[in-house]
């Protein structure tokens, strides 16, 4: 079992719901301060977006953040080199599009991520059918392959995805790209379907915007991923202290569930 999954299973066994904030690498010169703030505020895993010019699975907020970060010159190497300076032991998971690692070289990319203490990867446009080579490249580097399951995924595919998914299973709450939303969408049904196929921890993302939503979702899921809501705050000028406060409010909501 990959080390990320061992850690996240232990976390679940302790009764704690996982809080996974998403940050865009290189969005601001001090982007790591936001990561530190989130860790202080009670995050359990940090998801790091490595920007791509054509983020097909992202809504306007993360698109805007990706463009700003790219304009600052962010690359896979610069993101990894920044991450190496983090001192916390909170697990890091990278999220990027397939072309970035394809272009970098799959084996080399897995090694670069691992050297930056990244122990999981989410590649949303890498389908199960095309994932063989990447999964193979990650095997020796202890990088967990995290796959998404969507509301449109049928039971058969859910089972196939569950077979290869490592670390945690990413349950997409709705048929949409990343963004903000006001309800929990199809999250409950998706989580139930995945749960029937595997006992890996299941985290819900896509549209989780408020602590209330997170609390609701965590009554059946093992964790939540919060992306656009935080990125929007940073784009609007929030300080690391502001982000820490937001994370604390999510933490409290989850701890009460």
């Amino acid at each position: 079992m990959k080390s990320l999954e061992t850690q996240l299973r232990t976390l679940r066994a302790s009764g704690r719901k996982a809080l996974v904030p998403y940050f865009v690498a290189g969005l601001t010169p001090d982007w790591l301060h936001y990561v530190d703030a989130a860790i202080h505020g009670g995050a359990d895993v940090i998801e790091i977006g490595i920007p791509f010019s054509d983020p097909m699975m992202d809504g306007v907020v993360i698109q805007e953040a990706a463009m700003r970060s790219l304009a600052r010159g962010t690359t896979l190497d610069s993101a990894c080199s920044d991450l190496r300076s983090l001192t916390s032991s909170v697990p890091l998971v990278a999220m990027t599009y397939y072309n970035i690692i394809h272009h970098y070289g799959l084996l080399k990319a897995a090694g670069a991520l691992r050297a930056a203490h990244v122990t999981g990867a989410i590649i949303p446009d890498l389908t199960l059918e095309e994932s063989g080579e990447w999964v193979h490249c990650c095997a020796s580097d202890d990088v967990a392959n995290i796959f998404l399951t969507a509301p449109s995924t049928d039971e058969d595919r859910v089972a196939k995805i569950a077979n290869v998914c490592e670390g945690f299973s990413y349950a997409s709450a709705r048929m949409a790209v990343t963004g903000k939303s006001t309800d929990e969408g199809d999250a409950h049904r998706v989580v139930d379907t995945i749960r029937a196929a595997t006992d890996i921890p299941i985290y819900v993302g896509i549209g989780i915007t408020t602590p209330g939503q997170a609390q609701e979702v965590s009554s059946y899921a093992d964790g939540v991923i919060v992306g656009s809501a935080l990125v929007q705050q940073i784009l609007s000028g929030a300080t690391p202290q502001d982000i820490e406060a937001t994370i604390r409010s999510f933490r409290q909501a989850l701890d009460q569930s």
Binding site: M56, M57, L70, N99, H102, H103, R157, V177
Partner: protein, 394 residues
Amino acid sequence: MTRVDTFMSAPDDRGRFGEFGGRFVAEALMPACLELETAFIEAWSDPVFLDEYHTVLREFGGRPTPVTPLRRLSALLGIELYAKREDLAHTGSHKINNVVGQTLLTKRMGKTRVIAETGAGQHGVATATAAARLGLDCTVYMGEVDTKRQELNVFRMELLGATVVPVSSGSRTLKDAVNEAMREWVTCVKDTHYCLGSVMGPHPFPWMVREMQSIVGHEASQQLVDLNVGTPDAVVACVGGGSNAAGIFAGFANSTARLIGIEAAGGSAVGLGSPGVLHGMRSLLIQDEFGQIEEAHSISAGLDYPGIGPEHAHLAATGRAEYYPIGDEDVLSALQLLSEMEGIIPALETAHAVAWIVQEVGKSIPRGSSVLLNLSGRGDKDVAQVRSILRAGA
């Protein structure tokens, strides 16, 4: 046993043409891609469906389009030049062939709505047209830059009852229109088909669109036999995503004809690109050293695309087809030349292929050669733009 290579046959199970193609989409879209693949395979071997497709193209689409000997230009250049007249098809380009097929398939799948991306607006107009004919709802995504370059086509789509959504992300051209259409498709995939406009995207689109455009090549090869030309020495077509080229190449893939695709110099995925993954496919893409997709630059909105269909990438890799770039300046004079000498105003996209032929006669196209040009579209949509460029230059 000797193996005879048949070019342009079906892709493998994963939708690969050699090392190109495949399926790289959000999991949310996978079920729709699989459903589409099954529906297409069934429909394309169903005589009732095929009959309807051919009937609609005949009664509504204006097919078959003629092959016209371009006599004055032939005499000027010293070659035998023929044009397959897709400009005479309904809506003024080859795009109608694909959208007739895909909208019929949409209905067959029980879906009630189509979305599409468009560059020049030709595919958007064609989709709106075919959707209107079947009473399907239609929304078209178009880069903001292109809505300005091709204002009249925006109005045409609206007249046809479609909604046009300007896309203001990224380079605000075709590439971003595709991104936005894919993002939207995720939200409405249950009742909506994404009517992709070229031989690109995730499997089965590159194959399906080529099949639906192959009528161009099959008609043309018979027409050249009827004209006593037989197999031409070369078949030349412009390439954006590559659908008109794939369509005409399909009629000559296993003949001795040279197959030649002409890209815009600023969007030349074969010349400037390297293997990468974008818009659901692995193909040749123009990208920087970090794998960020670069913006294409072309005078013609329809060729302003940093990639190329995966089957073309494969045809280039195997050497069966050749791809060359043509710059903006040569395109304008070729457009004027064809207009003045043959009474045909071609689309700016098509003018790339004309320009290459003019440039290459006496070089890689020996005098006396027989050449088939795919005249992919008419230039009406471009006359305002051409006028302003020519006036500015005068």
